[in-house]
């Protein structure tokens, strides 16, 4: 593992030094550290993120931006070590990462103490809420769960659903979704009839499915990240569940269709417009930029990007927007620059990116509005926009 890290770091340094040569040695350099979980249990999140690093902006306001990518092997302790290294040895001006929610929660005190703005592409809203003196250094480039959940609850109410079953992973992702969804559903007059949990590696979900069938809800919501969202749905299908199945933005990836096949037909989920770019009107604020990102990613890696990679790309766009203002207050590598960078990011208004349009404020460090999610369904084995 450590050899991999070393070689990856060497590669990053080599690329960076080449870039530095090209840009001329006289220029100051902005250093950005990227920590992703490209190995270990949440590698499915970390790999598209690591793959996105070469697509991040390398020239901003006449400055070269150098990216130093490290792998934390999905281990929160390794995330802490990586962040410490980036701060004390590399003296980075900003950090993108880590990939996992527990990993990100663990490093907040470190970045706050060193005064380094951090862009966390993680699921849990707890990294920016409730806002305090430490979390003011953290920005979150993913939609908050309640934004997605509101859209799903709205659709359920419209579809005359009265009772909902919940199947989620037994991890922070599932925990938070159960909490957020239960609250919103009760307010809308929906009853959560059953709540079942599972592990990503479980080979059989028959028992959870049976429990769901016994509770006989009108619809089922499945909250699981990545391809683990498929097995609960195919199990329900095999057991003859006839109600509608809802998914979260965790299922918004190409593999969902590949693994689920005809058994996931008719699923409703809410996610960024990235899955249905060809169907949203050209006037959609994210269409142009998301298409560019998807095309560049596909050209470089030969596969379509998962949303997780786009979250890192958005962090790069925020940096790009904030760096010019920050440069007026200090040189890269100084505390003044980092603090000005944080302030400038907080001032971002109406920034179109791949996931939505960001409008940040001192209280809201995620900054999405309703343009950050679309209702999407599966029709004839393809993603389709719900009109």
């Amino acid at each position: 593992m450590s050899e991999m890290k070393v070689s990856r770091r060497c590669a990053a340094l080599a690329v960076a030094s080449l870039l530095a040569l090209g840009a001329g040695a006289a220029q100051a350099q902005i250093k950005v550290g990227v920590v992703s979980s490209s190995t270990g249990p949440i590698a499915l999140v970390g790999i598209p993120q690591k793959n996105t690093v070469p697509l991040l902006p390398t020239q901003v306001a006449g400055q070269t931006v150098q990216y130093i990518a490290l792998d934390d092997a999905s281990d929160p302790t390794a995330s802490v070590a990586a962040i410490k290294k980036l701060i004390s040895e590399e003296k980075v001006d900003a950090i993108i990462g880590p990939s996992g929610s527990p990993n990100a929660m663990g490093v907040i005190p470190l970045v706050a103490e060193a005064g380094v703005p951090m862009f966390a592409p993680v699921g849990t809203a707890a990294v920016v809420l409730p806002m305090d003196d430490k979390k003011k250094w953290v920005f979150k480039t993913t939609q908050n769960d309640d934004l997605i959940a509101r859209a799903l609850v709205q659709h359920m109410v419209g579809a005359k659903v009265k009772t909902v079953g919940f199947i989620g992973t037994a991890d922070p992702y599932g925990d938070n979704w159960l909490k957020v969804f239960t609250g919103l559903a009760e307010k809308a007059g929906l009853k959560v009839a059953a709540a079942e949990r599972f592990q990503r590696q479980d080979t059989s979900l028959t028992a959870q499915g049976l429990k769901m069938l016994a509770a006989a809800p009108d619809a089922v919501l499945i909250a699981a990240p990545g391809s683990s969202s498929v097995l609960p749905q195919t199990t329900l299908y095999d057991q003859g569940f006839k109600g509608r199945v809802y998914q979260t933005h965790g299922a918004a990836l190409p593999d969902f269709l590949k693994l689920g096949g005809k058994k996931v037909e008719g699923t409703i989920l809410a996610a960024s417009a990235m899955l249905v770019l060809d169907q949203v009107p050209d006037s959609h604020p994210t269409k142009k930029i998301a298409s560019q990102y998807a095309a560049a990613y596909e050209k470089l890696h030969g596969s379509k990007p998962a949303t997780f990679g786009a979250n890192v790309y958005d962090a790069g766009l925020m940096l790009q927007a904030a760096i010019p203002a920050a440069l007026k207050h200090g040189k890269p590598g100084t505390p003044a620059f980092r603090s000005a960078l944080r302030d400038a990011v907080e001032q971002i208004k109406e920034l179109p990116a791949t996931q939505g349009v960001y409008t940040l404020s001192p209280a809201d460090h995620s900054g999405f509005d309703d343009r950050g999610r679309e209702l999407i369904t599966v029709r004839n084995g393809q993603w389709a926009l719900v009109k």
Partner: protein, 358 residues
């Protein structure tokens, strides 16, 4: 909970239990013959399932590269030991055969497989008949068993069993890392052997679960017959009872070890192929599956085949029912189960020397 739900849960538990039982059998087999606790057993499951999935998805079979690498490493190790002997650095009882044409067979086989998987276009592999796909998967995975044994365990066959366990864990970690490189982090599943669904009253029984149970019963029967009635099977059993005694009777412990690893790889790969259509498997799924097989094997004291299989079946059933009652605490319940079993075994079996004749 009514009778119908109990029936369905029982059926689900039997299906996973059948797979755990197969893995428990091969863990017991490898442990008794070589004293190696086969932690990487689960990786054979993953390799089998993921190779099938890669073939059906039309993506390149990267496993062939690993097979070739292991074959080359093994050949290099062998050349090294011959060289050491030539320079008189080993004692007479560690004597190795001189190098010969036979040493080229394994790398040649691996190279042929690699060229075959590269030469045949992906769509042709995709449309290959299912039995042929399974045969190709087994042809890829099974040699890994004996070759990894030669590479990692044969040179230290007489070491303390703790050393063997550490090497086994190391091999597991290495193979999981390689699996991530070969197959990626996303899950995979394969097409079922047949799409039909049996309707028993109001219960729906998928044909694939029948396949799993049927093949398991068939394999256990075949293993039983092989151990009772063939010379190779009897040699394995003899080595399991006493390595030294078997050696005195002219049975090579290395050959027996190699054979047990080949069987373990075959059983693992076949289990993977069997369950890949009913579940989503990840590059690191194998470990948890084989861990449950291990719990079953421990119920049989790591020596008894029937008790191990029964224990594994029990694990499957308990897993299924405990998921129904408390899905969030399933793993906790399954692995807590091992405590009373361990207590009972250590009280009933009394103390015996863990380091038996090597």
């Amino acid at each position: 909970m009514n009778a119908q739900i109990a029936l369905l849960l029982g059926q689900d538990g039997m299906t996973s239990g059948a797979v755990y039982a197969l893995l428990a059998l091969s863990i017991v087999l490898v442990f008794t013959v070589t004293r190696v606790l086969l932690v990487p057993q689960g990786e054979f499951v993953t390799f089998g399932a993921m190779s099938m999935a890669a073939m059906q998805a039309g993506t390149p079979l990267r496993l062939a590269w690993l097979v070739l690498a292991v074959a080359l490493l093994r050949a290099a190790l062998r050349a090294l030991s011959v060289l050491r002997q030539r320079h008189g650095r080993v004692s007479a009882d560690e004597a190795v055969d001189p190098l010969g044409w036979r040493d080229l067979a394994a790398p040649a086989y691996a190279l042929a497989l690699l060229l075959l998987t590269r030469a045949v276009p992906a769509p042709a592999l995709q449309s290959l008949a299912l039995p042929l796909q399974i045969a190709l998967t087994l042809a890829l995975v099974v040699p890994l068993g004996p070759w990894l044994y030669d590479l990692c365990f044969a040179p230290i066959a007489s070491a303390h069993s703790l050393v063997l366990l550490i090497v086994s864990i190391a091999l597991h970690v290495v193979l999981v890392g390689i699996a991530l490189l070969m197959f990626g982090a996303e899950g995979a599943r394969t097409a079922p052997f047949s799409d039909s669904v049996l309707e028993l009253g109001s219960a729906r029984l998928q044909a694939q679960t029948l396949w799993v149970v049927g093949v398991t019963v068939g394999l256990i029967g075949a293993l039983y017959l092989a151990f009772e009635h063939t010379l190779a099977g009897k040699a394995l059993r003899a080595t399991a009872v006493s390595r030294l005694g078997a050696q005195l009777m002219g049975i090579s412990p290395t050959a027996a070890g190699r054979f047990s690893f080949a069987l373990a790889a075959a059983i693992g790969a076949l289990s993977g192929v069997l369950i890949a259509p009913i579940t989503t498997l990840y590059y690191d799924s194998g470990f948890l599956i084989s861990l449950k097989g291990f719990v079953g094997a421990v119920c049989g004291g790591l020596v008894s085949f029937p008790l191990g299989a029964a224990g594994a079946l029990g694990v499957g059933l308990i897993e299924s029912f405990s998921t129904f009652w408390a899905s969030a605490y399933k793993e906790v319940l399954v692995f807590t189960l091992i405590l009373p079993v361990l207590l009972w075994r250590s009280l009933s079996a009394g103390h015996h020397d863990e380091e038996h004749a090597g």
